[in-house]
Symmetry: C3
Subunit: 341 residues, 3 copies
């Protein structure tokens, strides 16, 4: 791959920065202050890394007004260097952009609609009446089920499974191994065994949604499972049937939401946070990692559960006491009464 | 897809209900009381939804004897409307039923046995001596390893991986990304490194077993890993080598069972419940979500662990105290002694 | 498959044992003391199973010096029978070894380099400039992205996804559904939405690394994610961007390490243990299952968190008290003061 090149003028234009340096100078890579070399652009967004600014070998640095004076090399001055870095990062992304067209080894149903600008990878399979939008990439070995739709500019990595009747919006990224539209986990207890309930609903995914590797979004039982615009899901997340996730909510790896729970907008879930079914989680709720949520939460704020890690020897003693906690509380009350008498 | 149609007489016959209405009327969809329209059938199984019965626009409703009087439309009266719904749901399932036969792009070993009524999807791969039973569906991109068997009527979705020497029973459903027969996690410590132990056992899966998306069932070290008839596994569950799961046990997403543990019949695991290795879990054990089980459980009942979610500010204080819990217990004892003196 | 056969002389030679028995006798299988039959070899490494030695039907047993006297059949005497079993197990592994060569249905980029002794499975896809080493197996339906390298003797099972710019060392085993090089979870908050940061780094995996089924190793944001030699990862593990895992660390299923955390050598993670981001975990740290680590750990030892499972009725009471724990601690202090006055 030939290295991408940008002039500092182009960089300033892209990120909306004021350039203090030679606009014709070129950069061909992006790196941290510490590891950047000649030809790289870098950024300073966290005061922890301020000490690396003086000695950076970067050709140019995205900085705030306050720190621009201290920048020993060309400075691109803007209010939010981290966001500037986010915008710029895509210019140096080595991710291959496959050519438009349907690979000879792909299997596409006759009545599927594939936009001429879409790329269907090797050994991918597109089922009946599926619709693949403009500039979509369907990675090698991925499957798109009957009547499902992939919106403009979305990217499915290799080995993604999209079941039937799933609607994915524009500019989404679906990582390898993700399963979208898999069966919801619904059974009726029938005395001695469990009777499966056909999962008839679909999945609706908005625009600008990212779905991490091996994440599972189940189809609805009767109505659809719904993921709002701008939602970002990390790897191995479980979204159960008929869950609704509000716009711009972001969830870290291994987290999960059980059936029919509604999660609001702008929520942040730490890793392995788990929410029970049939609950209402409001907007702007922040769950720390491994939080266990078994009741609805309406008040915005940070919520936590669990105990912190400690040496096993101590923990063993405390964990025994946890099982005596109610008893301890009652004994404490008794003592207080006695003493107050 | 043309919409399925049933007369109410056919519905009554299928679910074993007494019909109060015109047997010739037709329904072509199934929906909740609230969202049902003309031509839909619905059901009332939860008293929470009783208030929607009066105003439902459904053409007919599955109800109990007690509520049949209040049903403003045709009523199908039966003891367990939810189970009736489960049975009926399959009539309206839009899941495609692929035609029998081997897709031209599938790769099938010469000595594999494929029933003429089985469907082998696009780009699927069937290895040496595998046996695919009658009416089995192997989804696009799925792999069935050497000598493995898939029983009559079972369905593998797209991109499923079945390793060698795995036996799957009849009427099972294996969701996308599931890995069955992957290596058990077995190593001998060899001073400075870990020596892998070949995982020589296979996997035995009974009839009517569901395996969720991206769930992993490891092959046994020497003997087999065994999943009983009627077991239902949700997504991303870990079943380790030589685990045995009893009949009709049901496990929610992200739960896991470590090596050589035996789980009884009719157990219910909440999401992310984790059981350590080499334990015995009896029949009818119910674990709530995120339960951490490090000892055998024999007495039937509901078991739990963990702490409930609370505002982070409070939690931070309590979590510090948890680490002082044993100390607190001893101070409490001291106080009690002093006071009794 | 024809059964492998070894003489006891060959076994003794392979595992470095002293043979007490007929060197010409042949074994064709390996099994536990309890289930072994005629022609099987077995081992005794755990005193719990000593009682099975007397009645074993095995043809020969790997034992320690101390127990060799009690062995009723041919004995192979060595210091560590479990390690001997590990070494020997591979002789009886029924895992198919595919023939060298590129399957006709595989899709290989013209400028990819495939060693003549490598095996590329049915419907596998190898992208531009990828390099597949000697004796490598790429399983059916697996994908190897642009410029990625698979070292000598490594095995990718079916349906593995290796993204671009991933380097995998020699003798690694990657299980089905694993995703290596997927996007790190990196976003800049941009007022009303999240701006994705392109994940430009790659993944470096050492030699003798095992990656479990459906495990995800994300690519680095700018620098690489790094997995040391001899690391063993179980199923569904989350390794986030820019994590570094030291040599011979072993992690059980469902565990996870958040972004930029460094884990030392020879660590052991129990199942579902989760470590937060930007931490330092030293060498020889042992986390028990479901441990929640939110601070750096330097001192070698065993660490734990959480509470143990108990009957739900008791737990409900204790969990309420947990939320009053800080209050209880302060009341206890008050009582102590009063009493000492």
């Amino acid at each position: 791959m030939s290295k991408p090149q940008m002039t500092l003028a182009e960089v300033a234009d892209l990120v909306g920065a004021e350039l203090r340096g030679d606009p014709a100078v070129r950069v061909s890579g992006i790196a941290t202050l510490k590891s950047a070399g000649e030809g790289d652009i870098s950024f300073l967004s966290n005061s922890r890394y301020e000490r690396y600014l003086q000695e950076t070998k970067a050709t140019a640095v995205l900085v705030t007004q306050e720190l621009a004076e201290q920048c020993p090399v060309s400075a691109l001055v803007l209010a939010d260097p981290y966001r500037g870095f986010a915008l710029l990062s895509h210019q140096f992304d080595p991710e291959p952009r496959p050519a438009a067209g349907i690979h000879a080894s792909a299997v596409v149903a006759e009545d599927a609609e594939i936009a001429p600008t879409a790329s269907i990878g090797a050994n991918a399979v597109i089922a009946e009446k599926a619709r693949i939008g403009a500039n979509v990439t369907v990675g090698s070995g991925s499957f798109v089920g009957a009547r499902s739709q992939i919106g403009e500019g979305s990217v499915l990595a290799a080995n993604v499974s999209v079941y039937h009747d799933v609607h994915i919006g524009a500019r989404c990224r679906i990582s390898s191994g993700a399963a979208i539209g898999s069966d919801g986990f619904g059974y009726a207890h029938a005395g001695t065994h469990w009777e499966r309930i056909a999962q008839i609903g679909g999945v609706q995914i908005g625009d600008d949604v990212d779905v991490g590797a091996n994440t599972c979004i189940d189809r609805g039982a009767l109505d659809d499972t719904v993921i709002g615009n701008g939602v970002k899901l990390d790897n191995m997340i479980q979204i159960s049937h008929n869950v609704v996730i509000g716009e711009n909510t972001i969830m870290a790896g291994h987290s999960g939401v059980a059936g029919s729970t509604h999660v609001g907008r702008n929520c942040v879930f730490g890793g392995a946070a788990v929410v029970s079914g049939h609950l209402e989680i409001g907007d702007n709720i922040h769950l720390t990692g491994m939080a266990m949520v078994t009741r609805s939460l309406k008040e915005p704020g940070i919520y936590s559960s669990g105990t912190g890690v400690e040496p096993n020897r101590n923990w063993r003693r405390n964990v025994v006491r946890f099982r005596q906690l109610d008893d301890m509380a009652q004994r404490l009350k008794t003592l207080e009464k006695k003493l107050s008498e």
